[in-house]
């Protein structure tokens, strides 16, 4: 047991003992499910993507967003710039020039195993479902800490609306409940997108890598990155060449606010006692000093 886990365990123990559930850290509901490891996700094989943008079109239809123009001509213009997802596009496909030529990369929420957005959300409006979907609920108050915290800058806010909302891919949670695969996966003509449990997807990814050693680099992006994600990538070139951040580390993001959260119960329990103690000691010392002073006076008077 290293120091940090020790502190965490101690922290929660003290929290449970002193403060009840209100300020107990680490109560992000996803923890237990993470262990079960049956999150669903999407495996994106960038070597298969042909940049047809049918996934974007399907996404727009499923989520009632403005229909994108995906004609040949429009695509040529679109691929000139690097696009980010937006309040009306939950998924975008970008073109990267790499050492092995042109690579198309679909981009959307990573559905992290331990999402920064969920753990940052003041009302858990962004929630990691037990099935792995990270969804948004209208109880959100619009504080935008999720936007500050998400390492991939995925949650998007409709700043132009008086009652703004957070827009992002939810891995087609509604369709999932009806037993249908996500819109983008259904639409993809080359099976560059594959839907399934994370375990299955990892198996499949590793199989592809093993069978085509020349075709892929030996790594699945999202297997371990920031504690694992549900959207995962296969690639022929190092991932920084296709616009994926490789500097984020393996530690899951909620861990970073843990130092603070685990200290809270300690401070809550100890500072009042310490303060009352100090106040008492100082008051006694003052009293003693006064009495001594008094005694001196009396002695002097006696002489």
């Amino acid at each position: 047991m290293n120091r940090r886990t020790f502190l965490k365990v101690m922290g929660s123990a003290v929290a449970g003992a002193t403060c009840g559930s209100l300020i107990r850290p680490a109560a992000s509901g996803a923890q237990g499910v993470f262990d079960a490891n049956e999150f669903f996700g999407i495996l994106i094989d960038t070597t298969r993507c042909i940049g047809c943008r049918l996934c974007e079109k399907a996404c727009a239809e499923v989520n009632y967003l403005p229909n994108p123009d995906i004609s040949e001509k429009a695509n040529q213009a679109v691929f000139k710039t690097k696009r980010d997802t937006s309040v009306i596009e939950y998924t975008v496909t970008n073109l990267y020039e790499t050492e092995k030529g042109k690579v198309f990369v679909p981009w959307r929420c990573m559905h992290c195993n331990q999402p920064a957005c969920h753990s940052a959300c003041i009302v858990y409006a962004l929630e990691k479902r037990e099935t792995g979907h990270v969804t948004w609920d209208k109880r959100c108050i619009g504080c935008r800490l999720c936007m500050m915290s998400c390492p991939f800058q995925i949650p998007k806010h409709t700043f132009q609306e008086p009652a703004a909302v957070i827009q992002k891919c939810n891995l087609c949670y509604g369709r999932f409940l009806q037993g249908i695969v996500p819109g983008c996966v259904e639409a993809c003509p080359t099976e560059a997108l594959m839907f399934g449990t994370r375990r299955k997807l990892l198996e499949e990814g590793k199989r592809r890598i093993a069978q085509n050693p020349g075709r892929y680099i030996n790594h699945i992006y999202g297997e371990f990155e920031i504690g694992g994600t549900s959207t995962m990538y296969l690639s022929a070139v190092p991932f920084d060449q296709i616009g994926l951040r490789t500097d984020l580390g393996l530690k899951h993001y909620p861990e970073y606010s843990m130092v603070y959260l685990s200290a809270i119960p300690f401070i809550a329990g100890l500072t009042p006692i310490a303060m009352l103690g100090i106040a008492h000691v100082i008051r006694m010392a003052k009293k003693d000093a006064k009495e001594e002073h008094h005694d001196h006076h009396e002695e002097k008077e006696k002489h």
Binding site: I122, Q160, P162, S257, L261, I278
Partner: protein, 420 residues
């Protein structure tokens, strides 16, 4: 003999003002709303105009959403309101707990004359600055959700900060309430409230440590997005320490101003004690800034960010930590040695500028620092007007209260006699 007589007069006066019913209170309150002195000063005109404009913009923002009035966007979700009003403002209000700690816990009675002023300042800061947060919420009509339990986001730092804001506001109100009770003449309430003070202070200090640090902890998940020189897992500690010197620095300036502008409200005791208090606070500020700088250096060294010092962001960091933390520390020390209040005031202003810059850096200047200039955030003039509006409302209410209640002077005779 003479003294006794004045005591009698004071007693009579306050006795007459004892208020028993709500109607009486309401009439008294309305009569007190009238401004004292000439309301048509240049400052009033200027701030009044800004506030008028600000109110219009605030309503406009509520009706049309955030984007017409602000430059907030997907890359910079938080702007100058979060940075200057909430993050800095709360640190600036840190005097509320530091001074209460000094007086009530450490028993340093010579600081007591400044206590009420400080608590009032902190209370108003929290009410208006935390209130400003509501303007900033994208779904402000649901701001109560984290409080009524439409899911408690207990692992969210902001959740903890929000609750602590609320509890601390109540605590500060409780700490200040004896003054309000004296003003209205609620005698029995005054007695009860006075007795609750120590408990409130202890609770308040605990809450303050939590949420001052919490404001820094909001950035702990910005790893990779906040520039490494500013980012650290120990940001909560940095925020907490900087609030220990930001609070007293503000009070050094505020009290120096009130001593001059409201001299007629200041009693003999406070006037005589004031230079001593300022010197004491300056000493404390110098020591705390030293601790802050020490921690900053350790963190930069420990996280191997030292090589970044020579980049443009590194120079900017040096401005913040060198010119606006190290220099004020030296000035504080110099001022204390020379017993020079002007130097101390200058040091306080610089130190505050440093804290403000630090918060702004965290919220948007050093946040997503790698983005091209065209995507960067800068506040619109409407945002600045709304910001000034909030500050001016604060100043107006502060002024109104110190002109009416016993803030800069001792409590009235009847309240003091009951106390012991």
């Amino acid at each position: 003999m003479e003294k006794l007589e004045t005591v009698e007069i004071v007693k009579e006066k306050t006795e007459k003002r004892e208020i028993r019913s709500f109607g009486e209170f309401w009439r008294f309150f309305l009569s007190e709303l009238k401004p004292k002195g000439n309301p048509w000063t240049p400052f009033n005109l200027f701030s009044g105009l800004i506030m008028l404009l600000g109110f219009i913009f605030i309503i406009y923002r509520f009706v049309t959403g955030l984007s017409p009035t602000t430059n907030l966007g997907q890359e910079y979700p938080w702007g100058i309101w979060k940075g200057a009003v909430v993050n800095s403002g709360v640190a600036f209000a840190g005097g509320g707990y530091t001074l209460a700690f000094i007086v009530y816990i450490l028993g340093m009675e010579r600081y007591r004359p400044m206590l009420r002023e400080t608590v009032l300042f902190a209370f108003l800061a929290y009410v208006f600055y935390a209130g400003a947060l509501t303007i900033e919420l994208g779904r402000w009509h649901l701001f109560y959700n984290p409080f009524i339990g439409n899911k408690y986001g207990v692992s969210s730092v902001l959740f903890i900060v929000a609750w602590h804001f609320m509890l601390y506001m109540v605590t500060l109100a409780l700490e200040f309430s004896p003054a309000a009770a004296e003003w209205v003449g609620f005698k029995r309430a005054r007695k009860v409230l006075g007795a609750a003070a120590l408990g409130a202070v202890v609770f308040g200090v605990m809450l303050s440590i939590h949420h001052q640090a919490g404001l820094g902890a909001m950035f702990t998940m910005c790893k990779g997005k906040l520039h490494p020189l500013w980012y650290s897992e120990f940001m909560p500690v940095l925020y907490f320490i900087s609030s220990i010197y930001a609070g007293p620095s503000v009070m050094i300036i505020v009290s120096s101003i009130t001593q001059k502008l409201y001299a007629h409200r200041v009693d003999e005791e406070y006037r005589n004690a004031h230079p001593g208090i300022v010197l004491g606070l300056a000493k404390m500020c110098a020591a705390t800034i030293f601790a802050y700088l020490f921690l900053q250096l350790i963190l930069v060294h420990h996280e191997h960010d030292l090589y970044l010092i020579t980049t443009p962001m590194g120079f900017w960091w040096l401005v913040e930590v060198g010119a606006l933390a190290f220099v004020p520390m030296l000035l504080f020390i110099h001022g204390v040695q020379q017993k020079n209040l002007a130097t101390i005031n200058l040091a306080a202003v610089l130190a505050l500028a440093g804290v403000l810059l630090n918060r702004l850096n965290n919220v948007f200047i050093a946040y997503n620092w790698y983005l091209p200039l065209s995507l960067k955030y800068y506040p619109t003039w409407q945002e600045v007007i709304i910001l000034l509006t909030i500050i001016f409302i604060d100043v107006w209410v502060f002024r109104w209260i110190i002109n009416r209640m016993h803030v800069l002077s001792k409590p009235p005779e009847w309240a003091r006699m009951e106390k012991h």
